[in-house]
């Protein structure tokens, strides 16, 4: 297990290094002179030169890359051109909200997707299976931005069940101020026992989280189903049936655990994917996350910010994968033996 882990860790580090290089390359491709953008339209030549020096644009490319890597490692992710704040601070500011949204979405997706997958596998070929397959495939096929508009129109402004937009009711800041630890509103409200804000945050979370959850719930259900069907056709499932266990027991108490492995890998994948999918949804729901920051960065050709967002999500992907490897080790003893 330890060796396996160190090897995976080594690979992860390599991938992150590659991600950094690739990000750097893309950044250099972006048209427009970041120094001009930063120094402002009326900058004097001297100010411009200073900006150029600050961005290290005078060095050769390898030197720039080296400095870039060094700065990243030192926690300096550059200064955003459009917010004029350090990119790292911007990301710290925006990321928790995105994490909150995607975290909630993934929880929904898992809580919904896995049981649906189990149900479909249980009734393979019958009506419940067919309807679950069709609906999960619809969930996977629906464009999120469109779903966001539809749900918002129907459930927020139409039926009025949920708030239209926002992260929580900011009027509550005055009546029950929130102490911030993690910057994730719902979590902070929960750990400080701030019920009004927690309720408000959860109510605001429902719709956007549902929208983002659609895709992962669909793929998780599909994968769970396929994996379970495969697992339940294995020899051990036959033995379990021969021991007198019913079909449902075989699926849920025996086959599910070994079947979860591919589902877990999938969750790591859809995690990063959902963050980016969230970019499309955050605008509709006014969610103050990475999505808006990324959109603004892209529309203002803000290279340091684009690089920062790209890097953050890519690193998250790598981390999520590592985490899944660990969980898989816990769930499946064969992994530990590797």
């Amino acid at each position: 297990m330890l060796r396996y882990l160190t090897r995976r860790l080594g690979q992860a580090v390599l991938v992150v290094a590659g991600v950094v290089v690739l990000t750097f390359v893309i950044m250099r491709l972006v048209p427009g002179d970041p120094a001009v953008a930063y120094a402002g339209p009326r900058a004097s030549p001297a100010e411009l030169a200073a900006a150029r020096a600050q961005f290290g644009l005078d060095d050769s490319l390898p030197v720039q890359l080296w400095k870039y890597v060094r700065d990243l490692a030192g926690g300096n992710w550059g200064v955003s051109l459009h917010t004029r704040q350090p990119v790292r601070d911007d990301l710290f500011q925006a990321f928790p909200a995105s994490l909150e949204l995607v975290g909630a979405a993934l929880i929904i997706a898992i809580v919904v997707g896995i049981p649906l997958g189990v149900g479909a596998a249980r009734f393979k070929g019958k009506f419940p299976d067919l309807s679950i397959r069709v609906s999960s495939m619809l969930a996977v096929s629906i464009p999120v931005f469109w779903l966001a508009l539809a749900l918002q129109t129907v459930f927020a402004s139409g039926l009025g069940w949920f708030p239209v937009a926002g992260e929580y009711d900011s009027a509550l800041d005055k009546t029950s101020p929130l102490h911030v630890y993690t910057n994730i509103t719902a979590v902070d409200a929960l750990i400080t026992g701030n019920w009004p804000i927690l309720l408000s945050a959860l109510a605001h979370l429902v719709l956007p989280a549902l929208v983002i959850a659609a895709y992962p719930a669909g793929v998780i259900a599909q994968m769970t189903r396929a994996s379970l069907i495969e697992e339940s056709a294995r020899d051990h499932a036959r033995l379990e049936r021969a021991l007198g266990f019913g079909e449902t027991s075989v699926l849920t108490r025996f086959a599910l655990r070994p079947a979860l492995n591919p589902v877990l890998s999938l969750i790591a994948l859809v995690f990063a994917y959902s963050i980016v999918n969230g970019f499309l949804v955050e605008a509709v729901f006014n969610w103050p996350g990475l999505g808006r920051y990324a959109a603004d960065s892209i529309r203002s050709l803000d290279t340091p910010s684009i690089a920062g967002v790209t890097l953050l999500v890519a690193v998250l992907y790598v981390v999520a994968n590592l985490a899944v490897d660990l969980i898989q080790g816990v769930i499946d003893p064969r992994m530990r033996a590797r």
Partner: protein, 289 residues
Amino acid sequence: MTVSASPEAPPVLRRTALRHLAGVDRLAMVGAVLLALIVLAALLAPLIAPYPDDGGSATHPLDALLPPSGAHWFGTDQVGRDVLSRVLYGARTSLLIAVAVLVISGVVGVVLGVVAGYAGGWVRDVIMRVTDVFLAFPALLLSLALAVVLQPSVTTVIVSIAVTWWPWYTRLTASVAASVSTRGFVDAARCLGVPAPVIAIRHVLPNSLTPVLVQLSLDGGGVILTAAALSYLGLGAHEPTSEWGLMVQQGQSLFTTDWWVVTFPGLAILVTAFAFNVLGEGLRARLAR
């Protein structure tokens, strides 16, 4: 003295993904039929679109935002174009993008994958690590970054999605090719003295293709969604090209007032992606058997 053939041939992988159609389930058939209809609609768009010019550069601002009616089944958009015609023409763009992305990334991915899988050793390690790096960028993210660098256009969409798409096929092909490479017939070919590149092309490649073909059909929906998302963000197709994502983006603020402008292109994306997904899933299930 001959040994008689066994009563039934063992279930081995057949030649192409298409052959799998014979055995896929009804749901997948629905997908195949839907997809065929969409392809047909795309091909025949100039003939079946009620206002073919509206699929291109015609505008009729005075007829803007007419609700669905006999004359305009799907209503008209902000500049008075027939939404049905644009949806039909949009199928061309979307399918063009899907096919181009899948072909480009499929070819690149499969070639690299076969090399990695068959060569093994450090060649495989290098290719797989590079692949991992690209995989770490969710398709939309890298496409976003790239689409900023390149001018927004259909070509940009194709290039930027393909850049993020190939690693999947490399990964898949590499693992299949690696396992194919350990199979007896590859060893046998090596023992016959067949040169390595010939083995890779003649034996490993054809035997590694089926899962990739299935994955390709499964991914058609993903490409269409990503392309739509890029266009939706203003980084993809642009006027006067008919593109579903672009149509949704432009009509977005009309969702509550003139629903048809957004709803029909959105449904078109949904149905097409659904068709791809259903078909691909059916093929995959068939392959797993």
